[in-house]
Amino acid sequence: MNLEEIKELIQLVIDTGIAELEVTRGEDTVRIRRNSPVAAQEIVVPAPTVAAQPAPVATPTEEAPEPEDENVQYVKSPIVGTFYEAPSPDAAPFVRVGDHVTPGQVLCIIESMKLMNEIEAEISGTIVGKLVENGRPIEYGEALFSINTD
């Protein structure tokens, strides 16, 4: 499976709005999962035919099902940097899925130019989704958590 074919599959997912697609051809498998509002950026291809370096993966790790719910709001990154779920590598994460959070509570750290920026919740609610994995590069406006507001 080459990059062109994978791009066509990605476009198919976007155009049709389906949530997940898995295609196997021979020994190659590609799974594309779409999560609004985070558009899939780059896909890691396990096939040995791809010469380019794999780009950061946009698929989430631990994640609760996301209801199409008006009560659900997204915590979006206000800066560019690297996402850290805990205050230090050995410490427990600031929050987990299922935790209740209040305004001002620290949810994560985005590191930018060696500065650790604490990202605080602005609303009261329950974390229903942690949308990015630890150590992931983050761009401006990227969704970090989904919160079911009180």
Partner: protein
């Protein structure tokens, strides 16, 4: 050579840098504001990072956002384009301390060139002609009156720490000098936090002539001829050309030699443009150094055959000028550029919006640098440049003929553009004769309603 280049800019110049990187085999990172999500530079870069909302100061001018984007993508070089952070010495410094190569002059040199008085002094020491004026910052109105009396009116007050017309006042006679000095100082303090003013002879109806330079990190400086940018409106260039109809080969040689000396002395590296005014006697006087690649660089690329942006990247990575420019610089033929802006051709009101129809002209001697595309949006948040149309011919007449033909075949629908204005300028007998200066539009009838009624379409 660099592992990865991040382009800290948008629009056509971001695309231009991406082109050079592709030719050099260097992967690219685009940064973009939310308003530029669907733009061409995002599409054609290998990676793209959203760095902020639409407003420039929260995105393209946000130094931590740009540097962080370089960090998370592992870019080892940043090309700043023009405008935005390209002449921001602090940004260049942050790049240096972050271990990212800034593709431009060293921050100390950019800072030095930004202080107009220092730049004047450096040039004068190397024998580059500067306008008669104060030796340094003016200490008093009396000092100014003395100097003005010596060099003759009119004179011009200019801010030492900034430009863009702020802190500038034209003084036509001694009686108005003290009051205008106070005004200039107040405006400079408000705009640049520095009330320092210096004084220069004011050239009435000057020609704007600028020289393109490229220097490596090994002390080699090359001058690639000059451009004339006299056709302006409110200090914004509309049309540029090379060579200037007013510069003789002897003058070109003389200025070029002095510029090499001057730029060597200040340790200049990478691309830059040295601006001059020419008075009605044909004498050139140094104004300032623009320590960046400029909008109108394609004009020089056409006549010299040198890819200036590739050159910037190569010298920033340590290449010598001899690798970038094989052999002596030969300037061939004549080139013209029209800056096509998204604005009403008569009212000059900005015309952002969606491009519903686009036909880009081509053919021999025609180049178009643009980030516009069919169904693309011209957002209202940034400058109004839609496209640069550049033509080249064996002489000025041919490049003008090609420009006319290309303008006629350049279709941009859905927004208003300055194309009708460019066509009127190129048809004017004074322009055709090369009899131009920076007051060209005011001195001709091109902007008057009668002349503009014919192309109300």
């Amino acid at each position: 050579m660099f592992r990865k280049v991040l382009i800290a800019n948008r629009g056509e110049i971001a695309l231009r840098v991406i082109c050079a990187c592709k030719e050099l085999g260097i992967p690219t990172v685009a940064v973009y504001s939310e308003a530029d999500r669907d733009s061409l530079h995002v599409r054609f870069a290998d990676e793209a990072i959203c760095i902020g909302p639409a407003k420039s100061n929260l995105s393209y001018l946000d130094v931590p956002a740009v540097i962080s984007a370089a960090e998370i993508t592992n870019a080892d070089a940043i090309h700043p384009g023009y405008g935005f952070l390209s002449e921001n010495a602090e940004f260049a410094e942050v790049c240096e301390t972050s271990g990212v190569t800034f593709i431009g002059p060293p921050s100390a040199v950019t800072r030095l060139m930004g202080f107009k008085q220092h730049a004047r002094e450096s040039m004068e020491q190397a024998g580059v002609p500067i306008l008669p004026g104060s030796k340094g910052i003016l200490k008093s109105a009396d000092e100014a009156l003395g100097i003005a009396g010596d060099i003759g009116y009119p004179v011009l007050f200019k801010a030492a720490a900034g430009g863009g017309g702020r802190g500038m006042r034209v003084v036509r006679e001694a009686s108005e000098l003290p009051g205008l000095l106070r005004q200039a100082q107040a405006e400079a303090a408000a705009s640049f936090s520095c009330a320092d003013i210096y004084l220069e002879k004011f050239v009435v109806a000057p020609r704007h002539i600028e020289f393109q330079v490229l220097a490596d990190k090994h002390g080699n400086v090359e001058v690639l001829g000059e451009r004339e940018c006299s056709i302006q409106r409110r200090h914004q260039k509309l049309i540029e050309e090379s060579p200037s109809p007013a510069v003789t080969p002897a003058l070109r040689r003389s200025i070029s030699a002095r510029l090499v000396r001057a730029l060597n002395a200040v340790g200049y590296t990478n691309a830059g443009t040295v601006e001059f005014v020419m008075d009605d006697k044909g004498d050139l006087y140094f104004i300032e150094v623009n320590a960046r690649i400029q909008v109108e660089h394609p004009v020089t690329e056409f006549v010299s055959g040198v890819d200036l942006v590739k050159g910037q990247i190569m010298v920033a990575a340590g290449a010598r000028i001899a690798e970038v420019i094989r052999g002596p610089v030969e300037l061939k033929g004549h080139a013209l550029e029209c800056r096509i802006n998204a604005e009403h051709p008569e009212t000059f009101r900005p015309s952002p919006g969606r491009i519903t129809g686009l036909n880009i002209p081509g053919g021999i001697g025609v180049r178009v640098d643009t980030a516009a595309y069919q169904d693309g949006m011209i957002p209202p948040y940034y400058d109004s440049l839609v496209a640069k149309l550049i033509t080249h011919g064996r002489d000025r007449a041919e490049s003008i003929a090609r420009m006319n033909r290309a303008l006629e075949m350049f279709v941009i629908e859905g927004i208003r553009t300055s194309i009708p204005l460019h066509r009127r300028i190129l048809a004017h007998p004074k322009f055709l004769a090369g009899d131009i200066n920076t007051h060209f539009l005011e001195q001709t009838d091109i902007l008057t309603p009668a002349a503009t009624e014919e192309d109300a379409g």
